[in-house]
């Protein structure tokens, strides 16, 4: 069971309090109706499926209810950092930093 740091609660809590919410930093187009079918397909379905450090969203559903972002290594499942929704993806100080 993963341990996840909620950047709003500022607490590290077990996975059962959270739900995974897919890849992060995929902004919904401002005016979807202007999108081509290909663009809309990419927005809806195409994901990086990163094997390595993955920026992803979680929701602290059984806590504060907030969506936030995390950088997690998908081979080791280790969290490198978590940050609030809307914040840019952080630069990692060193490759493979420690769990917050």
């Amino acid at each position: 069971m993963l341990l996840i740091h909620c950047p709003y609660c500022e607490e590290t809590l077990p996975e059962v309090e959270f739900v995974h919410a897919g890849q992060a930093h995929i902004a919904r187009p401002d005016l979807p109706s202007s999108q081509t079918d290909e663009e809309w397909e990419a927005y809806l379905f195409i994901r990086t499926n990163e094997k390595g450090i993955h920026a992803e969203r979680w929701r602290h559903v059984h806590g504060c209810g907030r969506f936030f972002n995390a950088l997690r290594h998908t081979v080791t499942d280790q969290f490198l950092t978590t940050y609030k929704a809307g914040e840019p993806r952080p630069e990692l100080p060193v490759e493979g930093g420690d769990q917050k």
Binding site: E15, H20, D37, E38, E41, F45, T74, V75, D77
Partner: protein, 417 residues
């Protein structure tokens, strides 16, 4: 290749088993092939077998980053069934079941396809509606699947608890008798042995670094840990790692990879005659020919390549099984393991040409790829050989995610009221 039969077994037994030969040689790559299949699982080895046997294309290499059959082929719970809702799915999976029935003879390798029946339990009024829709649709598609009353369910699967006090009482079930299980490793080995006997090279421990394209964008070959291999066509059949391989050819796919866990109990004398699935409690179970109860459920919630999986899912899965079969509470879990499955947005597979000429992909099987093995391999080989989809795999295109023509089995089973 020594032909397998009772006489050869007896003859070899009498001679101390000194005369058996290799089932497949450990090949090193040649400079060039007509077709390279990436991924030596059941699907990839099967495609090589059908390319060689049905299309006469034998200058083929199957390459794998590890040992053949070491991925999801060797990690799954081996359920075989074709009682799907949509015509497209039914055609594909039923084609697979047809092939399963003759596979041991086709391969001269006993894959132990066990036609023991798959019972899907209905626990709510919504389940009843949904499964009856399946039953009716299957009947008109010529697929055996029939409705059983709760008492008939108990008769077919005696360990079932019919107590009305159960949190999820059994209201009936849908039974496909032609469904069952098979010996997963034997499928990979049987295909490998057959393919290599027809001239296919099986190259293990040879990670693919990149797919190389020529000036016109078409396939040129693969860069591997054992050097560059030139080829005209490439079939990718690597399950959880599809996106990482396809990315090297510049193709992005609507896939995400999740950990899928499964487990077995200690071996028991025969107690469980069939396969039982319950969507309401999210678990399924059968008993292997070794006596172990084989149990699985859904994926973990987060994408991962770790093959590790978490404890909460195991707790839930065993609670679900014990809820339906309370007599197993004192039975012990022997081991659990994880695999990586690639999942599409509509939970149906992709067997498709790609924007890259000469590059074909067979992926997105999610939690259900084993049952399709011969059907997927057969149509995949057809498509590679003819550069056009077989009618059965034609609907499983990449384009459907753009047009919205999805084959959404999961949505069709949606639970809402």
């Amino acid at each position: 290749m020594t032909r397998f039969n009772a006489f050869s077994l007896l003859r070899n037994a009498l001679s101390g088993h000194k005369n058996w030969t290799e089932q497949w040689p450990d090949s090193q790559p040649k400079a060039e092939y007509d077709v390279v299949i990436i991924g030596a699982g059941g699907h990839g080895l099967g495609a090589a077998h059908y390319l060689a046997k049905q299309h006469g294309i034998t200058n083929v290499a199957v390459i794998d980053k590890g040992w053949l059959g070491g991925g999801n082929t060797g990690r799954n719970t081996t359920i075989i069934r074709s009682n799907y809702l949509y015509d497209e799915s039914v055609r594909l999976y039923d084609h697979a079941v047809d092939l399963w029935e003759g596979l041991s003879q086709d391969l001269n390798y006993n894959v132990m396809y066990s036609r023991r029946g798959c019972l899907m339990l209905a626990h709510t009024a919504h389940d009843v509606q949904s499964f009856k829709r399946h039953v009716h649709s299957n009947r008109l598609n010529g697929v055996d699947n029939r409705w059983l009353t709760r008492e008939e369910c108990k008769e077919f699967c005696p360990p079932l608890d019919l107590s009305p006090a159960a949190r999820y009482p059994v209201m009936g079930g849908a039974l496909q008798e032609r469904a069952g299980t098979a010996r997963h490793d034997a499928v990979a080995w049987g295909y490998a042995r057959s393919a290599s006997s027809r001239g296919v090279d099986i190259i293990q421990n040879c990670p693919v670094l990149a797919i190389r394209r020529d000036a016109h964008g078409a396939v040129e070959g693969v860069e591997t840990a054992k050097g560059f291999i030139k080829c005209k066509k490439i079939g990718v059949s690597v399950a959880g790692h599809t996106t990482t391989v396809m990315e090297t050819a510049g193709v992005r796919l609507p896939l995400e990879s999740f950990p899928l866990q499964a487990l077995v109990s200690e071996p028991l004398k025969p107690v469980f005659p069939c396969v039982v699935m319950s969507n309401a409690v999210h678990a399924y179970i059968s008993q292997s020919d070794k006596g172990e109860l084989v149990i699985g459920s859904g994926t973990d919630q987060y994408t991962s390549y770790s093959q590790r999986g978490g404890l909460p899912l195991i707790e839930h899965t065993l609670a679900a099984i014990t809820e339906i079969f309370p007599i197993f509470s004192r039975v012990r879990m022997l081991r659990k393991w994880g695999g990586i499955v690639d999942v599409t947005p509509d939970r149906s597979a992709i067997i498709s040409k790609t924007p890259v000429p000469g590059l074909y992909v067979n992926c997105g099987w999610g939690t259900g790829g084993f049952k399709a093995t011969p059907g997927a391999a057969h149509t995949f080989a057809w498509m590679i050989a003819k550069d056009e989809p077989h009618p059965i795999n034609a609907p499983f295109t990449l384009e459907r995610f753009r047009t919205g023509r999805l084959i959404d089995e999961a949505a069709a089973a949606a639970v809402a009221h």
